[in-house]
Symmetry: C2
DNA sequence: CTGATATCATTTGCATACGAATGAATTTGA
DNA sequence: TCAAATTCATTCGTATGCAAATGATATCAG
């Protein structure tokens, strides 16, 4: 690995100018972090175009609750990759909209149990078909084979 | 495309139970947006471990200025994929730390020109080698061949 | 049993990220 | 030329995202 944009020629010059040329070989556009950030931005934009009244993290919380049922706020955060501070805000907003409700764990008084309300269940069932379309549109620049490869490699990175 | 996690068996049952089974086939972990978000989180974490005193967006701004020299704030935002409101905050913080300076465009009085200070130049030259290491570590779960494939497909998505 | 640890949740502070509204300056087009 | 449209920058509001500190509760070890 190392230099990503260095042609085969001009090696002598590169050696002579060493540091400065080396730095200017660095291209932001080729760095995985920068492109990852842009790809994520594009996906969020596609998501918003299909589902305007819910953010991807809010959707993730509902979808996970629909999948596994009642859990503690912290456990839910672990499952959808949010730290405690972030998940609290997401759940608070879902609660304010009546999509989840919160109850204290009877045995372990530290825990806050989160569950879908009937409205929340209805919402996620309505949204899942849209989410399938969002995934498809996000992957649309790739062929089916490329998409499969991409998802496999992305999963190894995440 | 469509259903991502449906086995070949149970098709009759699926048809009978239709909607409910269909919804429960949806797995958040397989959705490109969710995995993209997690991969991005992991990269930011690796970045922070190597470069603690600068965020990836701040680094991107410095790297781009180092690459192209003075530009307007808006143009810089376009080049590093940030909207006007976001880039303003990033530049304000870099200015507060003395890494960039701002001057008014003499001809077009709407524009705010951004440039590296000597300290900013020194900082980015020091950081670029670390950024190369960050890219390598982020891609470490992949073989060299996989990494090349991944970057090619990711670029098509972004 | 009890002091040390660990876990769950909350709060605060800071940094993206973006939509929408606003104001200033420039460019366009009839 | 001059009104309309566009561009650049700023501000406000809302929503992640994470580190660090705090408080309440639970578990563990001696």
């Amino acid at each position: 690995m190392g230099r990503l944009a260095m042609s085969g020629e001009d090696n002598l010059l590169k050696l002579v100018e060493a540091d400065e040329s080396d730095d200017h070989d660095y291209r932001l556009q080729n760095q995985v972090g920068f492109v990852l950030r842009k790809a994520h931005q594009r996906h969020v934009s596609i998501f918003a175009a299909h589902i305007g009244d819910l953010t991807p993290p809010q959707f993730a919380a509902l979808a996970k609750l629909y999948d596994i049922g009642e859990t503690s706020q912290n456990q839910l955060g672990t499952l959808i990759a949010m730290d405690a501070a972030t998940v609290k805000g997401v759940i608070d907003r879902l609660k304010a909209r009546g999509l989840v409700d919160l109850t204290k764990h009877e045995v372990d008084k530290r825990r806050l149990l989160v569950n879908l309300t009937p409205e929340g269940r209805q919402a996620i069932e309505r949204l899942i078909p849209l989410a399938r379309a969002i995934t498809e549109e996000t992957l649309a620049p790739l062929t089916a084979k490329e998409a499969a490869t991409f998802l496999r490699l992305l999963a190894k990175l995440a």
